[in-house]
Every structure is written in C-alpha cells, then in structure tokens.
C-alpha cells in the first residue's frame, strides 16, 4: 500500500493539507469573527474563503508550473537570486511564527481546560519532542499520520460537535448583515490570513507522485476545511449567540458545554472535544517544522534537511513562550494577519503573473 520513495499520492496530499490546516486557530476564530461581524460569522468565514481562493489557486498553479522544483528554486528563477532568497526567508520566518502561534494557542487551551497545574514549558516541550520525531522522517510519515488522524479523529470531532445541534436557535443567526456588507468584507479580507498552512503548497509539489492534480487537491482540501469550519462556527453561534462567542476564550468549547441533555451517557463532552481537536495540532506543527527545515536547507544548498530541525525547535519554543500572558500572546501574534495576506495572497499571485507572462515553467 505504501512505498518508501518520498512520494505521496493524491489522497495523502489532501489529508496532509487538511490536517495541517485544522489547528487551534479554528477554535478561536469564532470569537474574533463575532467581534467584527456579530451573528454573521459563517458568512464572514465564507467570504474569507472566497477571498483566499485566488491565492490558494495561484500557489497550486505556480507549484504545478515548476513541479520539479520547490519554492526556493523557482522563486530564484522567477525573480532572480537576491529577491528569491528574501522571499524564501520570508516564507521560513512565516512558517516559524505560525507554528509558534499554533503551539502557544494549544498550550493555552490545554492549560485552561485540561492540565491547569502543568507548566506550559513542559507541555510545549513534550509536544515539540513528538513533532521533531515525525518531522525528521519527512513528508511520507507526516502525510500518513495526517491520513490516519483525518479518517479517525476528524469524523469523531464532527460527531461530538453535532451533539450541539439540538440546542441551536436559528434566531441567534439574526439579524442578517445588520451593519451592511462592509464589516463582513473587512473580516473576509483578514480571513485570508486564516489559511496559513495552505502555504505548504509552495513546497510539497515535488514530492507528489502526480503533480498535475495539485490544483484539484488544493481545492478539495480547502473546501473540506471550509465546510468543517463553517459547521463548527454556525453551531457555536446558534447555541451561544454572537454575544456568547464574543465573551468566550474558545467559543466552540463553551457551546458544547451548554449542550447538556438529560440521560446523556457521558458528561463533560468539551473535554473530549478539546482532546480530539488538539491531536490535530500535531500534524500542523510537525509539517511546518519540516517545511522550514526543508526551505532553509535548499537555501543553503544542503543535501539533508534533518540536521536543521533540532536548531529550529528552540526558536519556535522561544517565540511561542515569549508573550507573558494570553492577552499579550493574542496581541503579539497579530502581525501574522498582514504577513499572512502578503504570503498567501499577494506573493503567489505576483509570482504567478510574472511566470505566466515570461512563460517560465519546467
């Protein structure tokens, strides 16, 4: 079934992207979106997806054009060595920050709900230790783990969350667009930055057994992620309302905790939900760790990326644990929004246009 040739097939690619996309950000999004758009959270997310699509498609198409090369090489081909180097470095720094953000977010949620006396350093360290182990073995084990988690954990998450459906009050979704379309468009533009891990498209194409299908796979993967996110967001808003979402650290968790029924065979569902959801953070951090090491090794012309993983871990660890409290952490990682729009939207589209005009491809 699996071959050890450092190649992944279409399904593995899809699950790799889905598992990388789903992380703690999706748990917190409901609050950020509700603060901006009130009850129209689902619409704001959908708008964000639509806005992000050109960028995602450009990334996929660009990588398909240069299917033999990773980002480091083709950015040099397109823009010349100097700018290409800067872009690669920007990408590596972006991934480092995103994985630090995911790690920090996960630690905060664990601290809050599961292990309140365990020091955050220990949680972060033990988590990174597992991530190092997977990242060292490259994309094959990573994508296989993604498939395993994707087919076992994701349906369970949705199933657990579906428990909230009977508590949904459709009234909570109203008023529809009370403030007009401007806040939704604004939130949508910021929403582009939610698609952080889609930037892995820049480098995974050379590892694909059939690189031609990448655009379709990227589209499917992003559509599945959007579906899951909108499902969770709509139920959250339906159960606790926009006001409840605004005032909760992790609104889906609060929504699930409100869903209590007589005679339910199990109580405290939120704990299970968080436990399952946090498993989805591991592929994210591991994939980003692998990606940074790969890009840096290609930049410096190294044949192996493995030695770079260990030195990267302290950087992620330090960035993640630098903010002193949860509010500071939220403020600190705010720079990722404009940065993300640049990486996920502006950069791929510009590069693709240049490549298309000059007719550059493999």
């Amino acid at each position: 079934m699996f071959e050890n040739n450092n190649r992944i097939n279409a399904q593995e690619t899809m699950f790799f992207l889905i598992a990388a996309m789903i992380e703690v950000g999706s748990l917190i999004d409901a609050r950020l979106l509700a603060q901006e758009t009130g009850p129209d959270v689902w619409l704001a997310y959908l708008t964000g997806y639509v806005f992000a699509l050109p960028g995602i498609l450009a990334m996929a198409a660009l990588s398909r054009r240069f299917y033999k090369h990773g980002f480091v090489q083709y950015s040099r081909i397109i823009t010349g060595p100097a700018i290409g180097c800067v872009l690669s470095l920007a990408l590596a720094v972006y991934w480092l920050s995103v994985s630090a953000q995911a790690l920090r977010g996960m630690c905060e949620i664990i601290e809050l709900t599961l292990l309140d006396k365990t020091p955050m350093e220990v949680i972060a360290f033990s988590f990174l230790a597992v991530a190092i182990y997977i990242a060292r073995y490259g994309i094959e084990p990573l994508s296989r783990m993604s498939v395993l988690l994707g087919i076992s954990i994701l349906p369970l998450i949705l199933l657990v969350f579906a428990v909230g459906i009977p508590k949904v009050k459709l009234d909570n979704m109203l008023p529809f667009m009370a403030e007009g379309p401007i806040p939704i468009l604004k939130a949508g533009a910021k929403g582009i930055a939610d698609w952080e891990e889609m930037s892995l498209l820049f480098i995974i194409v050379p590892f694909l057994s059939k690189p031609k299908g990448i655009v379709k796979e990227a589209l499917y993967a992003s559509a599945i992620v959007a579906f899951i996110a909108i499902f969770v967001l709509s139920i959250t808003i339906g159960v606790i309302g926009a006001n409840g979402a605004k005032t909760s650290i992790a609104p889906p968790v609060s929504a699930l905790s409100a869903a209590q029924y007589p005679g339910m065979f199990i109580e405290r569902l939120p704990t299970i939900f968080i436990g399952l959801w946090l498993m989805m953070v591991l592929p994210t951090v591991a994939a980003l760790l692998w990606a940074v090491a790969l890009v840096l090794s290609q930049m410096f012309g190294l044949t192996e990326y493995k030695p770079l993983i260990m030195p990267l871990v302290p950087i992620i660890y330090i960035i993640a644990l630098m903010p002193q409290n949860i509010i500071e952490a939220n403020e600190f990682f705010r720079f990722l929004t404009p940065y993300g729009i640049g990486i996920l939207f502006i950069m791929p589209i510009i590069l693709y246009v240049i490549a298309a005009i000059r007719g550059m491809k493999d």
Partner: protein
Amino acid sequence: MKKLLALCLALMLILTGCWDKVEIDKRAFVLGAAADVAPESNGNKGMEDIEGYNANPFMLTLEMPIFRSMVSQNSGSGGGGNSGQVKPAWTYSSTGTSFFEIERQMATRSDRVLFFGHQKVLLIGKELAERHNLLDVLDFWARDPESTRGIKVLIADGSAKDILSAQPQMAQSASMFIADQLQQGAKTARFIDTDLCDFLHKLGDGSSMLTGRISISEDKDIKIAGSGVIKDGKLLGWLGEQETRAAQFVMGQIKGGEVVVRDPRNRAVTMTFEMYNEHTQLKAEFEGKRPSIAIEIRTEGNIAEVNSGSTADEAYIAACERAVSEELEKEIKATIDKLQKQYKADVLGFGSYLEKHHNKEWKGIEKEWDDIYESMPVSVDVDANIRRIGMKY
C-alpha cells in the same frame, strides 16, 4: 543525535501531565451551589468567625454527594432519603468577598479537591439577586473552565441555602432533585427552565429575562414554580404560575401543560384542556416610529377532564376550543400588560424580535425602546385545537 532523541523520548514518558492528577476518591463532586448574601450576624450555622472576613458580602453553599452513604442506603432500604435517615450529601457553607475565595476557603475544612465539572444547579438567593448584578455574580461560573454552561440557574424565593439544605422525599440530594425536576417541563408549563448559557447570552446583551423561581412549600417540599423577572441584571419581581405559562406561550417555549376553563355547557363546572404542543408567531408593524406587535399562537391538545357529561359532540368541542382560546388570550394579555406597565421589563423578547427581524426600523427606535415598550400595542390571537378526547367517549 540518537542519544538526544532517546533522551527526549525518555523525558516524554516522565514529563507528561501528572502534575494535575487527582485521584477520584480525593475529589468532592459539587452537584449544586447556592449563592446568597451573607447574613448580617455571624452566629449562623456553617459560618466561622475568621478575623478580617466579617464584612463578607457573599455566602456560598455547596452540596456534594457522599457516595458511600448513597450506596449503603440504596442497598439497605431500596431508595434512599427516607425519613429518619441521614441525607447522603454534604452541604457546606461559608462566606467571603468573592465566590472563588469562598471556594478556596473550603479547602481549610475539607480533605477533598472540589470539582465543579458535574455541577447541575446554581441557586441564587432573592436578596443577592435584588442587590447585585447577576452577570457579576455568575462570573465565577462563566470563567471557571471546569463548570459548564449547561448549569441550571434558578432564583430562590428566600434563602438559596435553605433550599439546598432541604431534604427531598424521593431523591438523594437537593441538587439532583432539582435537576431532575426541571425535566418536568413536558408536564407543566408552570416554571421556566434557564441555564447559565441563557443568562450570559441575555444579560450580556443587556436585555431582560425570565428565570425559574424555586421555593420551599408549606409541606417543606422543594417547589419550582413561577418565574423571576430580571431587568438590568437584577431581580425585579415575580410572575405567578399562570403568568409564567402565559409568558412561555409568547416565547414559544410550551412543551406541555394544562388549561382549566369554565365548561361552555355548564358554567358551574370546569373543562380541562391538556396541551401537547404549541407554535408562536410574532408579527410586527410600524406606523412611523411606533411599532405594534401581533402574537399568533396555535396550540393543540386533548380534553383531559370534563365534569359535564358526554364529549361526543362537535359543537361542544368547538365551544371548548373557543373557551380555551379566550381564556389563554385573556391570561396572556394580562401578563403582557403587567410586564409592560408594572415591571416595564421586556422579558418576552419583543425588542430582540424587532432587532432580528426588523433591523432597519429597530435602529431608529433602539434608543427610546424603554419608553416605546411600555405603551406598545400588543394583540394576541390564540387558536386552540382539540384533537382527541381521551379514552372516554
């Protein structure tokens, strides 16, 4: 490198999460909590005269089950809580300046770690609800990651502590009794079932709301009936049992219940209508800035009890339907009138209905809503349908 990796793996084994381990027999599971204003004098039972804590505003009572005695009572006499036996739950009370402080004070008097994850009910004393903003009172439960938003929140008519200390006849603890009793909503519409989620949602929006009222009846039973009117986060007054039913009709929350009316055939006796579902539709119209609301209610049910002979008569059924409709219309109008004129509290959600369904007009009247609400015309139209007449023909 291999050695480092081996070290990492070895560390993972020893560094995972045992900090937070609490054995289950070292936990005390809080089933119910009662929040009160602390009594003036310090001579009360369950209060300690701790230096520096005399001016404590809050009193918190927690009920925790004692599983050991629950089990022995079950095997002993089949169904615990019989008179003469000790209630298999421990009620514990203390005062402090914040609920978290009180909770932690209890560590000085207990060998167990309190666990709020299975809390079922939270009772709030009348005095506390009248004097403090409930959103602030509930902050501890909203903030605590252990407690859930599904906790039932009720206002006690009197001291909440007394209710939690009461011994229900059939149940093993007052909290379990209350949690199970609230499931009776399908039988009667005489109380309102609200949880923490409702409170945070409605009070956070700044709107008024109705909440369940709990009291001790003359027979020393715990009784949940009627509802409390909450405006600006504080308890304003009560609605009676029939008024609560009328209010639930407007909110479309009726799941069951009964209506007794004068028998249309013989005014001296009564006819009882058992309803089993209900549908409410609000409609708003605007005349400039003056809104008016029309409430249309459809309800279906059975004839449950008749004191005037045969029911096999189409005209009689129709007369009964009319009588029920008229009775309900009268009740609902009176309740709305009371809420508009006496309490001036929009607990039935007219404002939020206008905001959600007539947003454009709402924005124009939002600021003057309190004044508009008091004099807003509301019309009620009830359509009761009798579907069955029971086993007797």
